[in-house]
């Protein structure tokens, strides 16, 4: 808050000086030069500090009450079987805070690619204004239909992230890949690419979770619950929008909770 005000003052002063004098910098006298440099410096300092100006909401992905590990870790699955995970990525978007069913804060440009292999995916950095009170958090699992038809986008939505389907429309909302002896195919693989924004297979899931302590809370995803609901033996390759893909996205949405 103070930084924003500060930045505003610096910036307006800067503009005033430039407007009152000539455009060229060398014509300024020494005091105004120093003043301008100071303003620039302060804006710079402000930018550096601004990055930390957010509330970290940890995002915990767990299996059997422990943080989920990829690749070599084999987990016990449905009593007699094993399961390994190789890729786990999903999109969280349109994060909104709610107080008594009223929206109190909504994140701008709210798209987060959560990739378990990336360190910065272990928490969401949300720039919530300091004194915001809320009792629930709302977000989407996946990407909305408007964004899906908006052409090439950058940041977490950049197609280099491997979350845009190349032979058809739209983003993959949720991607899980791995192996299990239960999978009835030569390499015992499973691949779930859940997405789709067109009716009847709009895959986007709206999630609302109640938050009891708004100062300190974390979002968790229970992988064990998700895979227990799968039929790994018969349905282990989903690569396009379908009724089953939507069903699985619904079941994934239920695996989120607040801790």
């Amino acid at each position: 808050m103070y930084y924003a005000l500060f930045k505003y003052i610096c910036f307006t002063n800067l503009i005033k000086i430039i407007m009152s004098k000539s455009i060229s910098f060398y014509k300024f006298n020494i005091t105004s030069k120093a003043y301008i440099l100071c303003c620039f410096l302060l804006i710079l300092v402000n930018q550096v500090f601004a990055q930390d100006n957010c509330q970290r909401v940890p995002l915990a992905i767990s299996y059997n009450f422990k943080p989920l590990l990829l690749n070599d870790t084999a987990y016990a699955y449905k009593v007699k079987h094993k399961i390994k995970f190789e890729v786990f990525k999903f999109y969280i978007s349109k994060i909104t805070l709610i107080k008594s069913n009223q929206v109190v804060w909504q994140e701008d440009n709210s798209f987060h690619l959560i990739d378990i292999e990336e360190n910065d995916s272990s928490a969401l950095c949300l720039e919530i204004p300091e004194d915001t009170e809320f009792d629930a958090i709302q977000f989407n699992l996946g990407i909305d239909s408007l964004t899906n038809v908006s052409g090439a986008l950058g940041g977490d939505l950049d197609p280099t992230k491997g979350m845009y389907w190349t032979w058809q429309n739209g983003y993959v909302n949720f991607k899980l890949q791995g192996t299990s002896d239960l999978c009835n195919n030569p390499k015992n693989e499973f691949e779930y690419h859940l997405g789709g924004y067109l009716k009847p297979f709009n895959n986007l899931q709206h999630i609302k979770l109640m938050v009891s302590n708004s100062n300190k809370f974390s979002i968790s995803f229970n992988m064990e619950q998700f895979v227990n609901g799968l039929d790994l033996e018969n349905i282990n390759h989903i690569m396009s929008p379908s009724a089953i893909a939507t069903e699985l996205a619904q079941s994934a949405a239920k695996c989120f909770s607040i801790k």
């Binding site: 899906n148 052409g151 090439a152 950058g154 739209g170 379908s242």
Partner: protein
């Protein structure tokens, strides 16, 4: 103060003039569908897109460029290839579409699988039978290249290539591929006249073909089953929409530059326009999704066929086919290399 205001106005005007210079909607055409606001054309971005279009760096083994299957002299399709081949001579299942007037197109590919021109190039880049690469690999390769650093910097004020910027630049070049200077266009603006035969052909066209191949783009942008069987078991639009009523439907292609964009149909089965007309006369195979307008075929006598073809040839736009601003940017690359 007034001086600054004046300068500002001039800058805005200059920007507007440049935009018009880079892309012009031909007279009496509908407004383009592409949202230029989200990807404003600039000379530098178009140049970057044009360099990328001709560069095999986009394919896995650096052998195939966009231009391999979309050459300018064939209206940006693969001349004489029913099905195009990609890396390691692998063959796909569909004929490579001619590229022109893409700003007016709502969706891309024969089945409309792609919803935005920006995302179109992702498909061939990633398809194992086409370029067999991935956007991530492409960006890594581009970032190793000094000339691209410069091109990206000039275009986006950022020398680092990203997926977004790469795709937007290619889209910008493709948007400039506007064909609107055929004899037909000149006749429509009273700068030329049809011969008697062409005029007869135009009437036959309007009576029999224009419902789907609507002027001035010569496509209505819809999907239709034109009674072709399925040699390659291609179910068409059904694959995208998963709706039964879309089985065997393919995009209605434009007829502009049809003289040069052979072979025809989604699988390139017909080499000559005559074969296409014979198909519509007596080759149509009935099925549940066959277009209502084709239930009885389009029966023309041989004179009518000759006249119709004479008209179709007036859709050739040689200025477009041999326009230097669409060719490999040899001069520009030379300048960039030297200045480096």
């Amino acid at each position: 103060m007034i001086k600054y205001f004046f300068v500002l106005i001039c800058l805005v005007l200059a920007q507007l003039i440049e935009q018009n210079d880079l892309f012009d909607t031909p007279k009496n055409w509908p407004a383009p569908f592409y949202d230029f606001e989200k990807n404003k054309l600039t000379k530098e971005k178009i140049l970057l897109g044009r360099v990328l279009f001709y560069d095999p760096i986009l394919s896995k083994d650096s052998t195939i460029s966009c231009n391999s299957c979309h050459s300018p002299f064939s209206a940006f399709t693969h001349v004489d290839h029913a099905l195009s081949h990609g890396i390691h001579d692998s063959v796909g299942t569909r004929n490579s579409p001619a590229l022109m007037n893409l700003a007016w197109q709502k969706n891309f590919m024969w089945d409309g699988a792609i919803n935005n021109l920006d995302m179109q190039s992702l498909a061939p880049i990633s398809h194992p039978a086409e370029m067999g690469s991935s956007m991530n690999d492409v960006v890594i390769k581009l970032n190793r290249n000094k000339i691209y650093k410069k091109l990206f910097h000039n275009a986006f004020k950022d020398s680092i290539a990203t997926g977004e910027h790469t795709l937007k630049a290619i889209a910008q070049f493709m948007l400039t591929l506007v064909s609107s200077n055929s004899k037909y266009d000149k006749v429509m603006s009273n700068k030329a006249e049809f011969t008697v035969q062409e005029q007869n052909g135009y009437q036959i066209f309007k009576d029999n073909c224009a419902a789907c191949h609507t002027e001035p783009l010569f496509t209505n942008g819809e999907f239709a089953n034109n009674g072709i069987d399925t040699i390659l078991n291609d179910i068409g639009r059904l694959k995208v929409t998963q709706k039964k009523e879309d089985a065997y439907k393919f995009k209605v292609p434009t007829l502009r530059n049809i003289e040069f964009s052979y072979p025809y149909m989604h699988d390139g089965r017909f080499k000559k326009l005559n074969e296409v007309l014979n198909h519509y006369a007596n080759g149509i195979k009935k099925s549940e999704t066959l277009d209502a307008k084709l239930q009885n075929g389009i029966v023309l006598n041989s004179n009518q066929k000759v006249d119709l073809i004479a008209f179709l040839l007036t859709l050739s736009d040689k200025e477009f086919l041999f326009d230097k601003k669409f060719s490999y940017p040899m001069e520009e690359i030379k300048t960039l290399t030297l200045s480096h």
